[in-house]
Symmetry: C2
Subunit: 566 residues, 2 copies
């Protein structure tokens, strides 16, 4: 066992940031609709909820939670404290609640209802990799369960201990391992500790003129290690790649020692162990360090907005862009429902801006567009001045061929500012008795329209079944040569059994993905939430191979057991 | 068991193409030096071999080979024949020799020496996936070993049965599964059978205006399934990606059934099973079908040649290109040794061409270049006219900044024509008592010069040890944002113990890769040849994870056992 460290350069456990225990983000920040005049009428129409009625559930009260007692023995806690120092091992109820769930709708509903069947028994905050190794060795020796914890933003149920878990559960919080250790400027490779939150990571890189370019919706509250463990994508993945592309090297602490994948640009050294760790959700060990591809901050960066007459035209344009010589940083198109939502969540525009908007809508109507069908698209460009200019002109040509209209950088700048605020809306809705959640898939271009239609149909049937008005909307968020990601948001006012009703809707959507040729998860991982469809997605033999991998790598089932595959 | 098929649309076993048993390519084709006036003096100087002396070993004589008798029982052969039809199961010596080795230098030396410790006992040619399943089920039931066979071009020892293998060895030749089954034009996805050889695959795609864009040096004699099984790269991978990027979907026959990875553009469904199959060299099952990314044939395609004053300038330019907004299809630069080799293997130029060449060399000398240091580079462009023009002008600007000089499309066109002929030189050298082979690595840009120097130093020490003059040369063949592949060719005149001497040189080079921060294989796989360095490359824990995967997926060790990891 290593000596307790007294590292003054490591972040203190007290300074590790966590989201509020009952919802997304930080205390005091939330979504408000009062400054968005279109929002309340929109919600009224979509799911029959009257925001002005002002009925709100009470703010969850921590003192009413019944948190199961920690089963960690004093001896075991002492062993952990011996490794990390006493102040860096905690067993208090608030900490244990914060480390119980991620932030899925299921998690939020349960935490608001005070449903905590099983909490981690002890949370430990190592200062370095050597301490992680000692924690793991001690935990495996004690036959405890180890669940790595980053930002806690997971929405696939990857973090919660199994309710039947009889062993001691250790939540291994990586929050103190949050630094960029080294940048290799020739190769654009940065060695970064796995616990770095998005903003901290980018700030450290930006300081030296670099960016990693990974911006998932959860960016503010998620970590590099979490992105890797769940195969995350970001809104600029069209340019920078999914996390699987960005990760070049890895250090993963396992019971036997440290798995080290050196940062080489490409290798043919058998099945890719790097690609086994990516998406492994803690089952192969604890990721402590990642060597990532970084890029020089672009000279210029712009997100342009376009309108298309309908989704068919818009998707066709996105497909042409993907197969062309153009390489935008963002390609995104909302369907008509989501476009209406976006317009409804805009703040009231005034003066010239309002006139321009009204003028545009009138013009589109004259051209025969139906405002119920039109779709808003964002396309981003990055690089030097000349590159951006040329890319934009090539995209404009494709857009014109598909009868789209460019409306400038205003809406894109707005989108860019508020892109990380969307998750707050779920808490806003829950406060008012409504559920909102997301499900995303990816499929080949040839199947995207079919998937889109199938999901709407499945959601409608599910809403009919639960007997509540429901809403669905969607955008295409990442594109590839062969296809794209479709990201769905759904919402409904729930009755007496919120999770029962949620299950019906969520299941219908996931099954529609599979049946229409999509995958069950494009960038949120599998966890517990998507596991029921894994076999239909990657086949029985695929699951057998994955189970075999986990079983051989972790014969005692100590590493985040029963996630991804049971 | 399925009924013997009578499929008139499947290729007949007699029509499956194989390379000659004793060397590369087809009978009657070989390298000749008589029309290349610079070659003999070059070889004389490099490794002290006098090509005009005309001493040649005798052409290997099949009748002198001692082929171990097949250990397959008549009953077992009858079972296989019952599956595929009698004419599609063969046990003759020539077929068994053809299926014993790949085409590594070690393989060529052994086959010429008549060294065949262990041959496959029976070769079977299934017509479809159902037959592959039946063969596998029957073989596993009989506890036989299954080694999939594509084009037989492997140079890492991935194909040979272990000399101590006591079980019956089945070589499963995919040669009849050689068709493009379906193209999804919207998504650019083609379903292709795994046994398709490069030229057959491209011809079928080209007919409909598509290309897969995968052109390894072995292209003429290697198959799609082989490329996937060994993590191949091609010379246009800068644009089209390595095979790991090109493969979107897979069908792999295993003892339990077919592993099906559906073609979705990206997914976060746990550790990537797709990336476990890529590079698995037969250990996870037999790949029967691959869904690959295809692209429209480009409007324009050009390879331009450039000269750089020395390797440092050239590599710096390649690095700048890789981190810029430019996306060429080929970036390649030969070091000074390989540049000299290229010039020496050119046919005699005449008239105006000769004058131009002489003029260029004189001009470079006047500029202070040393012809012993200058490096030849090829950069390829593809796309529409405007794209190619713009890319070329951006590259030219970077080249100029690094004091490089463009010399037009002539050399590139020549390179493009003869690029698949290089492997024939090994047989040419072996006929004359010299060994030539290749080893390639990849590393970050910051380490490339170090790797290059370390390999030269290691090779020199090895040549000193074996007491023969030796030669090494290198080119950078693929570039990525974070680094590139360095591809080394080495040659020497051997003494009494060709393989013993070869081992000393090859080992020195592989160890230099590791010690200087490169990987042990960029695109040739692991097999037996590179396995000794795997642990140093991907760490002890990495090998443990991979072993665990193989052990769990194939508990009986029936699938190409002891390859990659023992």
């Amino acid at each position: 066992m290593t000596e307790p460290t007294d590292r003054t350069d490591a972040t203190r456990t007290d300074d590790v940031k966590h989201m509020k225990w009952w919802g997304w983000g930080v205390e005091g920040v939330g979504f408000r609709h009062e400054d968005k005049p279109g929002f309340a009428p929109f919600v009224q129409k979509a799911i029959g909820l009257d925001l002005w009625a002002g009925e709100r559930t009470e703010r969850p009260d921590f003192s009413r939670l019944r948190v199961p007692a920690s089963t960690a023995s004093e001896e075991f806690v002492a062993v952990l404290s011996g490794i990390v120092g006493a102040g860096n091992t905690v067993v208090d109820d608030l900490s244990r609640v914060v480390h119980t769930y991620g932030k899925s709708l299921r998690d939020l509903v349960r935490i608001r209802a005070g449903e905590i069947a099983r909490s981690p028994d002890v949370i430990v905050y190592p200062a370095d990799e050597a301490e992680v190794q000692s924690i793991i060795d001690a935990s495996v020796e004690a036959d405890a369960v180890i669940i790595p914890f980053g930002g806690g933003s997971n929405i696939a149920g990857s973090l919660e201990p199994h309710m039947d878990e009889s062993r001691v559960v250790v939540s291994l919080d990586l929050g103190r391992l949050n630094r960029v250790l080294e940048i290799d400027p020739d190769s654009g490779l940065a060695r970064v500790q796995a616990g770095a939150l998005g903003p901290d990571l980018e700030a450290q890189l930006n300081r030296d003129g670099w960016t990693m370019g990974h911006f998932p919706d959860s960016f503010t509250h998620s970590t590099l290690g979490g992105w890797v463990a769940t195969r995350s994508s970001g809104m600029q993945s069209d340019k920078y790649g999914d996390i699987a592309d960005i990760v070049k090297g890895l250090r993963v602490v396992r019971a036997g020692g440290v798995l080290v994948i050196r940062a080489v640009p490409s290798a043919s050294t058998g099945p890719s162990v790097r690609e086994m760790v990516v998406g492994s959700e803690g089952r192969l060990g604890v990721i402590t360090e990642v060597t990532v591809q970084v890029h020089r901050l672009p000279e210029k960066r712009a997100i342009h907005a376009y309108f298309f007459k309908n989704l068919d035209h818009g998707l066709a344009a996105m497909q042409k862009i993907a197969e062309s010589d153009v390489s935008p940083s963002v390609t995104r198109i909302s369907d008509a429902h989501e476009t209406a939502f976006s317009l409804a969540t805009s703040k009231e525009s005034k003066g010239i801006q309002k006139k321009a908007q009204t003028g545009l809508m009138a013009y589109l109507k004259r051209r025969g567009w139906s405002l119920d069908e039109m779709c808003l698209s964002f396309i981003g460009f990055e690089g030097d001045e000349a590159h951006v200019k040329r890319q934009k002109s090539l995209v404009d040509r494709i857009v014109r061929k598909h009868h789209g209209i460019g409306v400038g950088k205003g809406p894109g700048a707005l989108y860019d500012q508020k892109k990380f605020d969307t998750p707050y809306i779920r808490d806003f809705l829950l406060d008012r008795g409504a559920a909102g959640d997301v499900s995303e898939t990816a499929g080949p271009w040839s199947k995207l329209r079919g998937i889109h239609a199938a999901v709407y149909e499945a959601a409608d049937r599910a809403y009919e079944k639960i007997g509540h008005a429901g809403w669905a909307m969607s955008h295409m968020s990442h594109s590839y040569h062969s296809g794209a990601c479709l990201y769905f948001t759904f919402a409904f006012v729930f009755g007496d059994d919120p999770l029962g009703e949620y299950d019906i809707v969520k299941r219908a959507i996931q099954q529609a993905f599979i049946d229409a040729g999509g995958t069950i998860s494009h960038h949120h991982g599998v966890g517990l939430e998507h596991a029921p469809w894994l076999e239909e997605d990657i086949s029985t033999e695929g699951v057998a191979i994955m189970s075999g991998l986990f079983g051989a790598a972790d014969p005692g089932g100590n590493f985040n057991p029963r996630k991804i595959v049971v």
